[in-house]
């Protein structure tokens, strides 16, 4: 078996302290401090290049921070398999010869351990996950044949099959039409009942305010973190977005001059 860390469930699911990450001499993240409790849903909002993807990769244990600590249930992320990282859709090779069920089964690879093939139990996990995201009828499709919303739901199913307790979703709503976005958001509401903790990077302040328990406003450091009413002040937003934000009529109606389609930090690994 591959070695995994066990949980101390009296600890916060995620505890980040004094986290700093540098890229090419510049600080991508500075002195990040926050913690999340089980079942919370948090929207991470900020301009392009604010470090959202970087934060997710560090939390997932894929990227090492220059200083500071990330703890999942009281221990470092490296040992945990309970973190589901859902990539931006433009970072996936959609021509890869796999079916929807194959991709969801990938979530089980660690639990299976080396030399093992999927057992009945693993197929039950996969089928149940596909049912939850309403993709059962497309299980044997090649992933290229899915719509954007279906692709995103497939990755959520993969995280469910992985038995992820913390789901990190990097801009899952970007580039989707409104019904697909609603579908994903409703799915996230349903996941709350299963005590899955969710962090979602998004550009849509309105959705962040209506569908999430807390909002983290990020621009290399945490500008504000709290419930939507506390966070979404013009002052905070101006601080996070700088010149790219144009208040309309002096009200809290905001217009963000920001292109959403590019990758977060302009680098790939």
């Amino acid at each position: 078996m591959y070695s995994h860390t066990h949980h101390e469930t009296n600890q916060p699911i995620l505890d980040v302290s004094n986290l700093t990450v540098r890229y090419n001499g510049r600080n991508a993240l500075e002195e990040i401090n926050f913690h999340l409790h089980e079942g919370e849903r948090v929207a991470v909002v900020g301009p392009n290049g604010a470090g959202k993807s970087t934060l997710f990769k560090v939390v997932a244990g894929v990227l090492q921070p220059n200083s500071g600590e990330v703890n999942i249930y009281g221990s470092r992320p490296r040992g945990h398999v309970c973190i589901g990282y859902i990539p931006q859709r433009n970072q996936v090779d959609w021509t890869f010869p796999v079916s929807v069920a194959d991709v969801v089964m990938m979530g089980r690879s660690a639990k299976l351990g080396p030399f093992n093939w999927p057992h009945k139990k693993d197929w039950e996990f996969v089928n149940h996950a596909l049912e939850t995201v309403e993709l059962s009828n497309l299980a044997s499709r090649q992933i290229n044949q899915l719509s954007g919303g279906q692709q995103q739901r497939m990755f959520i199913a993969r995280a469910l099959a992985q038995e992820a307790e913390l789901m990190l979703m990097d801009e899952p709503l970007t580039g989707l039409d409104t019904p697909s976005q609603e579908g994903i958001l409703n799915l996230l509401d349903r996941l709350k009942k299963e005590r899955v903790t969710v962090m979602v990077a998004t550009h849509d302040l309105d959705q962040a305010a209506t569908h999430f328990d807390r909002i983290m406003l990020l621009n290399h450091r945490i500008v504000a973190f709290g419930n939507p009413a506390e966070v979404l002040h013009t002052e905070n937003l101006l601080q996070a977005y700088g010149g790219r934000l144009k208040p309309v009529d002096g009200q809290n109606i905001l217009n963000i001059d920001d292109c959403c389609d590019e990758g977060d930090d302009g680098h790939t690994h």
Partner: protein
């Protein structure tokens, strides 16, 4: 009908043709299965470079053993594994771009190989043997080596099927699942290296990349499942080996070239067929 059967059976009267057929099919299957990952991960240039980098190793073995060919496999295997892991490490840590780094090493090593071989009097003949392969001179001893090492490669691909699939499709997922990513990457490089060593006598240094890439790419056009892609690629590669050797026998063309040309024709047919189907 009788003439067809005669045409097919006549070459098989010769033992060198029988051994050649078996070698071409075995090598084809191993190359095709490993080549699936070479195609999916965009490693064609790496595969080509690796094959060329092996030349100085074989040349050295050739000089040391005074021209005996049976020990060359071990020299090829050693050089190939060292080169694969070396190129892997350099392309990860290099300041210059990966393909440039690979290009420099591969051309340098290839030149060293040619330089070494050129010190021998029968230079031209030997060099062309290494460059283009000679499946018809495969000995029973070599056949056993191909069977054993090719079998080990297939066993490893089968054993780590889900790990390699996950790693190739989504390296970040593999990392969050805490799969041993570095170890698996190096294992895959090693498998490609062993495949190169196993195939050297059949297709030679220069045409190796075709065996790794062409049947797998043909299969990629025709299926949407990884396991089916491996199976189809293996079938195309075996057929290419068999048909190629018949062509080689009856048309007196070089065996390695005939095999690769057959594989290329399969690819073109699949490509055209897919285009027509999509319309």
């Amino acid at each position: 009908m009788d003439t067809l059967i005669n045409t097919l059976l006549q070459p098989l009267q010769y033992e060198f043709m029988q051994r050649g057929m078996i070698a071409a099919v075995l090598v084809g299957i191993v190359c095709a299965v490993v080549g699936t990952y070479v195609v999916l991960r965009g490693m064609a240039f790496f595969g080509d470079a690796l094959a060329h980098t092996v030349l100085p190793g074989i040349a050295l073995g050739y000089l040391v053993s005074g021209g005996a060919r049976d020990t060359l496999f071990w020299w090829a295997l050693g050089t190939s594994i060292v080169a694969a892991l070396g190129i892997g490490a350099i392309s990860k840590n290099s300041q210059i771009k990966e393909d440039t780094a690979i290009g420099i090493i591969f051309a340098g090593m290839f030149a060293l190989g040619i330089a070494l071989i050129s010190t021998v009097r029968s230079y031209a003949v030997d060099l062309s043997h290494f460059l283009f392969g000679d499946v018809l001179s495969v000995s029973t001893h070599s056949l056993w080596l191909i069977l054993i090492f090719g079998g080990l490669v297939l066993l490893a691909v089968f054993s780590f099927y889900k790990e390699f699939m996950t790693l190739s499709f989504d390296p970040v997922l593999a990392a969050t699942l805490r799969l041993p990513v570095g170890l698996l990457n190096n294992l895959l490089l090693t498998l490609i290296a062993v495949t190169v060593a196993v195939s050297l006598q059949t297709v030679g240094v220069a045409l190796m990349v075709a065996m790794l890439v062409t049947p797998a790419a043909t299969a990629y056009l025709l299926t949407h499942r990884l396991s089916h892609m491996m199976l189809l690629a293996a079938i195309f590669a075996s057929l290419s080996g068999i048909i190629g050797l018949y062509l080689s026998f009856y048309l007196s063309i070089a065996s390695g070239a005939a095999i690769v040309l057959t594989a290329t024709v399969f690819f073109i047919l699949a490509f055209v067929w897919k285009r027509i189907k999509q319309k």
